[in-house]
């Protein structure tokens, strides 16, 4: 059975991965032309709109090669964004090879390198592919140089294509067949299959995507998840074309789906190994790393009556997003909500957008935070990702924050601005590495917290869009952590509290005070808005008292009108949050929490 190839496509965002996948599918007749729509593997609206892949998808292609044999090519689509590298990992673990896609005009970017390292970590064979050769700005020779010098791959192996124009697709398919290895197969061993993804289907429950390493799986068999120990009976097995196609069995080396009446993806540990409950393998497959949330934010519904809908929406969302974590949270100012953990800022944005778009909710999100390690005077260590649970500072011996190694690829002329940006964000150990053609890879060790606040936007704008960014979490390092409280007329607004490095606290606090004072209407009394660390005020702004608000005339007819106006105001106030007798409209929270600019 050497006619199977399991492969994926790895690329920097926007280098044309989904389009290439589309062409490969079309070429192999995986779908009729008239049913074809662009980015066919990207099924979520957000994926299509943003041109990114969030969930990986899988499809089996049948390709008759020049040697006359028909091959089963299992294409495992992978997300391109750093936040979703756990999904990339799972995909890579199911493959023997990968197409490494590089844009003919942009060349090698930060994520190309990061993905290459990931692929090498899993011993994948690689076929470098230069895409978009039809672009006027395409510079194939330069990009080949970069592939050789930046990535260390043989430029003679490069296949050139234009996925958009459907050029070079045949060559890519041939390279997959010839250069990527067939899976090692062992049909007789106890079955071991790697679960690399799971999706929720409203009719059938959880659909497991798996790669069978050894043995085979068939309907009726009782399977066991080797790590969790849970057992299920397989209802159906099959391969993935554009629709699921049931098969008698999934054999060694094959990729396909399983249905086993599993209710939610929470019940499934992605990356777990499946085996036959009656004839179990002795060891699970190695190498799986759990996706851990690194960014935390509290999500509140705009109005408290939307809370039950938020609960429902999150429950549904996690059916399909095992990386999202959430726990009940509550705020005196914003009511009940959830403290959620995300893989990164993009993940946070995607979840927020899906909740708003697919479930029609209007939401408020608190300032994103990282998870700090806090050591107390009594020697115990706690993790804090929510300012509400920040311990009394007098009991704290020290704090550590997660640091990352950020990697930025830029044209040489931007070195100065990017170094400046990194220093401003408490970057250390800044190094650069000259690549081909006047390009530089700049690496710096940065606190993750500093990257959460508009770092990527600043990078993009200060490099005119040329800078690409990728990061990996390094370790925890000591930090001078403080909790900033925002006080309205002396009372703290819990939802606006945040943890920050002492050096950055004043700027953050000022930003919050200014935004609030712009968005809270005048009251009958002066309002003081303050930013404080403990008892110490570090920022302040005022809202002057309302001095004139009275209708001159109030006779028979005006009384009804005025009362109705008052009732409307009272109704509006119900939707406001009252802190220190000050009514804070939702728009003030939105204004404060939405724009996280430091400037």
């Amino acid at each position: 059975m050497s006619n199977i190839r399991n492969f994926c496509i790895i690329a920097h965002i926007d280098h044309g991965k989904s389009t290439l996948a589309d062409r490969l599918i079309q070429h192999c007749g995986g779908v009729e032309d008239r049913k074809f729509r662009d980015q066919i593997l990207d099924s979520m609206d957000i994926e299509r709109e943003r041109g990114i892949t969030i969930k990986s998808n899988t499809i089996t292609l049948e390709y008759t090669a020049k040697d006359g044999k028909t091959y089963k090519l299992n294409l495992i689509d992978t997300p391109g964004h750093v936040d979703f590298s756990h999904e990339v990992r799972r995909s890579l673990m199911s493959c023997e090879g990968a197409l490494l896609l590089v844009d003919a005009s942009q060349g090698v970017e930060a994520q190309t390198v990061a993905n290459l390292y990931l692929a090498l970590e899993y011993d994948l064979d690689l076929v470098p592919v230069i895409n978009k050769i039809d672009l006027p700005a395409a510079d194939i020779d330069r990009v080949k140089d970069e592939i050789e010098s930046d990535l260390g791959l043989d430029p003679d192996d490069v296949v050139c294509c234009s996925a958009k124009q459907a050029q070079g697709i045949e060559e890519i398919l041939e390279a997959i067949v010839q250069k990527l290895p067939a899976p090692e197969q062992d049909a007789d061993a106890s079955p071991r299959a790697l679960v690399f993804d799971a999706q929720y289907d409203a009719y059938r429950g959880v659909v497991l995507y798996c790669r069978v390493k050894e043995g085979s799986l068939r309907a009726g068999q009782t399977i066991r998840f080797m790590n969790s120990g849970k057992e299920y009976t397989l209802e159906e097995v099959g391969t993935l074309h554009l629709a699921r196609e049931p098969q008698k069995e999934l054999g060694s080396g094959e990729v396909g789906y399983l249905l086993a009446g599993i209710k939610t993806v929470r019940d499934v540990a992605i990356g777990d190994t499946l085996t036959d409950a009656a004839n179990p393998a002795s060891e699970p497959l190695p190498g799986y790393k759990e996706a851990k949330p690194v960014v935390f934010s509290s999500i509140y519904p705009m109005t408290s009556d939307e809370y039950p809908e938020l609960v429902k929406a999150l429950d549904k969302l996690v059916l399909n997003d095992a990386a999202l974590t959430f726990d009940k949270d509550s705020s005196a100012a914003l009511g009940y909500g959830f403290r959620c953990g995300f893989l990164g800022l993009l993940h946070l944005e995607v979840v927020q957008e899906r909740l708003q778009r697919e479930y029609g909710l209007s939401l408020l999100l608190s300032a994103p935070s990282v998870r700090y390690h806090v050591t107390l005077e009594n020697g115990s260590e706690i993790s804090v990702d929510n300012p509400s649970y920040y311990p009394d500072p007098s009991t704290i011996a020290g704090a550590e924050e997660p640091c990352i190694r950020g990697s930025v690829m830029i044209p040489e002329r931007y070195i100065g601005t990017v170094m400046e940006l990194c220093r401003e964000r408490r970057g250390e150990n800044i190094q650069f590495n000259y690549l081909a053609q006047g390009r530089v890879e700049l690496t710096a060790e940065l606190p993750l917290a500093e990257v959460l606040f508009d770092f990527y936007d600043r990078l993009k704008s200060s490099t005119q869009g040329y800078g690409s960014f990728d990061y990996e979490v390094l370790d925890y390092r000591p930090t001078d952590l403080v909790k900033i409280d925002i006080l309205v007329n002396g009372e703290p607004v819990d939802a606006l509290a945040q943890l920050a490095h002492r050096d950055r606290a004043r700027m953050r606090a000022l930003h919050y005070c200014d935004r609030l004072s712009e968005n809270i209407p005048k009251h009958q009394f002066k309002i003081a808005i303050q930013g404080a660390i403990g008892g110490k005020i570090i920022a302040r702004s005022n809202i002057a008292a309302l001095r004139k608000d009275v209708t001159a005339k109030c006779y028979g007819g005006d009384i009804t009108r005025k009362r109705k106006l008052l009732e409307k105001q009272k109704e509006g106030k119900k939707r406001m949050k009252t802190v220190g007798m000050v009514d804070i409209p939702q728009k003030a929270f939105v204004a404060v929490l939405k724009t996280d600019t430091d400037s």
Binding site: Q524, L546, R547, D549, V550, C554, I559, Q569, M581
Partner: protein, 379 residues
């Protein structure tokens, strides 16, 4: 139902010209239109069923009631006295424009039983009068005051408008001095409000009229109360000032303390203690309804206890008497002071209210923000 005497309001919608700031139900009309209106009003008086209270005030408002012939006013007064239960000598109020005032007319008004004449003076400055679209001169204004004073009405009241674009607080104090010089018994000083649908609103939208900033308005408001109080005119409401207790408007105070009132004529509002209803706003449909023999009523509402309490707060906080929380507790079974302890303390600390026994009494600064004060109370 109330055992207090009710007030009767009669709306006269005619004006020689519509002022650019006015959003009342007014129209221009010739003598024939006015005669037809009088007939319709008499018909409405006949049409109206039983009103449960005895009236002790009759108020001709508008519009410009002084543009009606005294003989017509007389017919209307006679008709309401025949038709409704009324005290022997009801207090009759008449709004009048300075240009309509002559010794003869004033004498006729007095004979009808008018006791308070309220003159639409608006300003003692010619440029301001022109800006406000008024037809009279400063001279006419002074003459009209003198005439009604000489005629011997019990109360002579004058209306003034302040807070005009560009008007400094000092300039306004000078206008007040001019007014005090004429020695009226009562003043109504209205701060200019731009209402939707008026000519001023249009000018403001076009950027041709710029309202005084809030600080200027606040300063003028305070100056009005301080200046008039110092001159012996007690401000007993946001816009009303009386030289002695007897000059306070017996009629208008009914609106502010939930005394029943009946309104006849286009757009007039009525209240019987629980229900409020209002007539069709425009004269023609109002007239047509009466011709058909149908009540010319546009709509009505029944006030819940909560509504009444909110109105009690809203109107009470506009007056120097404030809100009697003990009375409100008895009437609505709601202890405003107890449920709003923190708020009352805060408002007091900020100098917006005073507490006198169980009364919440607005200060001058409190009156200046009375509209939003009522909305802050929880109940």
């Amino acid at each position: 139902m109330s055992d207090r005497h009710a007030g009767l309001y009669l709306h006269v919608p005619f004006c020689a010209r519509v002022c650019p700031y006015c959003d009342f139900a007014v129209r221009t009309g010739n003598a024939a239109k006015r005669r037809a209106y009088v007939e319709s009003l008499l018909a409405e008086i006949d049409l109206f069923g039983e009103y449960p209270c005895t009236f002790d005030t009759v108020y001709f408002g508008g519009g410009t009631p002084s543009c009606l012939e005294p003989s017509d006013l007389k017919r209307i007064v006679e008709r309401v006295r025949e038709r409704f239960a009324m005290v022997d000598e009801p207090w009759i109020f008449l709004e009048a424009n300075p240009e309509d005032v002559t010794p003869e007319r004033a004498g006729a008004w007095k004979r009808i039983g008018v006791r308070t004449v309220s003159l639409g003076i608006q300003s003692f400055d010619l440029d301001e009068l022109a800006f406000l679209g008024r037809q009279h001169t400063v001279e006419q204004a002074r003459d009209s005051i003198r005439i009604v004073q000489d005629t011997g009405f019990h109360t002579v009241s004058i209306d003034l408008i302040y807070g005009l674009p560009g008007q400094s607080t000092d300039a306004w104090r000078r206008r007040l001095d001019s007014a005090i010089e004429t020695a009226p018994d009562h003043l109504a000083c209205y701060q200019l409000t731009i209402h939707d649908g008026t000519r001023f609103a249009l000018l403001e939208k076009r950027g041709e009229l710029i309202q005084l900033p809030e600080a200027g308005q606040a300063s003028a408001f305070r100056a009005t109360h301080e200046h008039l109080n110092a001159a012996g005119y007690t401000g007993y409401e946001v816009s009303a000032f009386a030289g002695a207790e007897e000059y306070r408007s017996r009629h208008n105070q009914k609106y502010w303390n939930h005394t029943p009132y009946l309104g006849l004529g286009p757009s007039a509002h009525s209240f019987d203690g629980r229900k409020r209803w209002w007539n069709l706003r425009k004269t023609d449909p109002w007239q047509q309804a009466i011709e058909r023999g149908a009540p010319p009523i546009d709509n009505e509402e029944t006030l819940s206890s909560r509504d009444l309490l909110l109105e009690t707060l809203m109107t009470g906080l506009r007056t120097y008497r404030g809100v009697d929380c003990a009375a409100a507790k008895q009437r609505f079974d709601t202890d405003l002071l107890a449920t709003n302890k923190e708020l009352v303390e805060r408002l007091r600390a900020n100098g917006l209210i005073k507490l006198h026994r169980d009364r919440v009494i607005p200060t001058i600064d409190g009156l200046a923000v009375a509209d939003s004060l009522a909305g802050m109370f929880r109940f």
